[in-house]
């Protein structure tokens, strides 16, 4: 299904605007291109050192890249992180499984539902909780909305890195529609805390499905507008095509996942490869491009956004009725409406809050496809109500690490573009 890629036939690429389908390069060609860039830094260089970040206006968050420049060419990069380190893993060891959910919001605060979801999937795997069908569909919808909002924000910031400031604001304008949906759904716009172990915390409100459908129908039009604005623009093409090449082998070696990996021609998408939630019940295509450069990462994300809209539409049509939280007294925090009426549920509530859920001994590693890449959650349980060890292998951590080979031999002006294209959020990096 996935993996080896450069040999599988791929359908004629559907370019809405702009140039016709580009010829697909072989992996050797890509490597040669990358080698040409690296060639620039061979030998001795007289350099000046500048510090991009943590206060640089275009560094995404408090990332620091100390860059040695020969003229405008980057010779060496020394990345530095940790300015946003909050010790999430230590916190997890002192919180019950339920209490940790709001903390996961703060990992990647631009796609916090995805973080909730990844954590809950891992905990459910550990506990063996069966999630009801309705909850799985709601999770899928919310996750795709989250992906849309993340990618739209990414797009705005990324194009702004190239100097087009209008893009940033129009992307923010359209992200509002999705945030409004989230606000209606769970009461928060940014830190959702919507997922629960065994389902979701609230059912879809009235009218929500209708509004969500409207957004899913309306966003592709906006995407077409974005593409009219930027996709064929000669300046953007010049700035993006052939820049920041990272081949599939490099991506694996540096654990680069998500759209960046897919832009290198690897059809790896955990939604297909290790389906979770309702992804095995919806029909969607994995967006793949083959040039492994900044422009193809843009194309991959544009395609993904369209796919997300289609997934949302399918899920809204097929959402089954039924409970949205598993009926599992040992592991699930009961719903408020039952707590208020039912003595057993109230006891369950007290037990879960004061004692925590009953968890088997063991360890699980569960990875899901969050908007930025693959997020893995590793939980070691010693049978207590709190994890013995919890590690979140967030995509941005590894993306931030791969910066030196990505920047090598590129120009200082492209550094921001490349850094934007791999989509790093510092809350995700520093944890």
């Amino acid at each position: 299904m996935s993996g080896s890629t450069h040999d599988t036939a791929h359908p004629q690429q559907d370019h809405v605007h702009g140039a016709a389908a580009k010829p697909r390069p072989t992996i050797e060609e890509l490597k040669a291109r990358k080698a040409r860039t690296r060639q620039r830094v061979v030998g001795d260089h007289e350099t000046i050192t500048v510090s991009m970040g943590p206060q640089h206006p275009s560094m995404h968050g408090v990332y620091q890249a100390v860059v040695d420049l020969d003229g405008e060419i980057v010779v060496r990069t020394r990345p530095g992180i940790g300015n946003l380190h909050r010790g999430v893993e230590k916190l997890a060891e002192h919180r019950t499984y339920h209490q940790f959910i709001p903390v996961t919001d703060r990992l990647d605060y631009l796609s916090s539902f995805a973080m909730n979801h990844g954590y809950c999937e891992a905990v459910e795997t550990l506990m063996g909780v069966e999630v009801p069908a309705r909850a799985r569909y709601i999770r899928t919808i919310a996750h795709e909305l989250c992906r849309l909002s993340n990618h739209i924000l990414w797009l705005g910031v990324h194009i702004m890195d190239f100097g087009a400031q209008t893009f940033f604001l129009i992307c923010f304008r359209d992200r509002e529609y999705i945030l409004d949906l989230f606000e209606m759904l769970c009461g928060a716009r940014l830190t959702h805390s919507y997922c629960r172990i065994g389902g979701v915390s609230k059912d879809l409100p009235d009218e929500w499905a209708h509004r969500c459908l409207q957004v899913a129908d309306f966003l592709p039009k906006r995407l077409a507008e974005y593409e009219r604005l930027i996709k064929a623009n000669r300046i953007f093409l010049k700035r993006a095509v052939g820049i920041g090449i990272f081949t599939a082998d490099d991506c694996h070696a540096w654990r680069i996942t998500g759209p960046t990996l897919r832009s290198a021609g690897v059809a790896r998408d955990l939604r297909k490869d290790e389906p979770y939630a309702a992804y095995d019940e919806v029909d969607f295509e994995v967006a793949v491009e083959y040039n492994a450069d900044v422009y193809d990462r843009f194309l991959v994300r544009m395609k993904e956004m369209r796919e997300s809209c289609s997934i949302i539409r399918q899920c809204l049509e097929n959402t089954p009725d039924g409970p949205y939280l598993a009926d599992d007294a040992a592991h699930v925090l009961p719903l408020k409406k039952y707590v208020l009426r039912d003595a057993a549920a109230m006891v369950q509530d007290f037990v879960h809050v004061f004692k925590g859920p009953q968890v088997p001994k063991g360890e699980v590693y569960r990875a899901i496809e969050v908007p930025k890449g693959e997020m893995g959650v590793y939980i070691v349980s010693d049978g207590g109500p709190k994890p013995q060890r919890l590690h979140v292998a967030t995509p941005s951590f590894y993306h931030g690490q791969a910066v030196p080979p990505l920047f090598e031999g590129e120009m200082i002006a492209d550094v921001v573009g490349i850094f934007g294209s791999i989509d790093v959020v510092l809350g995700d990096t520093d944890r």
């Binding site: 702009g18 709001p102 919001d105 409004d180 009461g187 507008e225 064929a232 707590v339 809050v353």
Partner: protein
């Protein structure tokens, strides 16, 4: 590059296309909400400032002093002190303080509360000049119940 492409490039086709988009925004409707003058209304589920509910008939606090909210709170921002000995056999809530500076508005307190006492209201204007204002006492929380959503009170 064919002749067509060269002509397209020389005529700045794609740049004019892009400028037509911004040009359409120029004349089109604006999306700005001029915040202090006009305010957006939030959805009923909005997780804003907390409120403590009391019984509309008797005026008695709904809270039963079970400490569930204080225990589940991931940022440990709720402080409750209770004492026994009220006339009707219920615990008396001496203090019920929420430190907003610590609160992360996750809504867990509302979710676990077994007697529908603590709710979150759609009040979102929390900025203040004095840090002390972030420390909400029982009286302040009770006073905020007028902002609570009607359905929550009925429940």
């Amino acid at each position: 590059m064919g002749l067509k492409d060269i002509i397209k490039k020389a005529a700045f086709v794609e740049i004019i296309q892009g400028m037509s988009v911004t040009g359409a925004y120029f004349v089109g409707p604006k999306v700005t909400v001029e915040y202090p003058k006009e305010k957006i209304s939030v959805w009923p589920r909005y997780r804003g400032l907390h409120a403590l509910l009391s019984d509309p008939d008797t005026g008695r606090l709904n809270c039963c002093g079970c400490h569930l909210c204080a225990t589940i709170c991931p940022s440990q921002c709720i402080y409750i002190e209770t004492s026994e000995g009220a006339v009707d056999g219920r615990k008396h809530i001496d203090t019920f303080d929420i430190d907003l500076a610590r609160c992360i508005f996750c809504g867990f307190c509302e979710e676990v509360c077994p007697c529908a006492a603590i709710v979150m209201t759609p009040v979102y204007e929390l900025a203040t000049y004095d840090k002390g204002d972030f420390y909400l006492t029982k009286e302040k929380l009770l006073a905020n119940q007028v902002n609570a959503h009607k359905e929550l009170i009925k429940r």
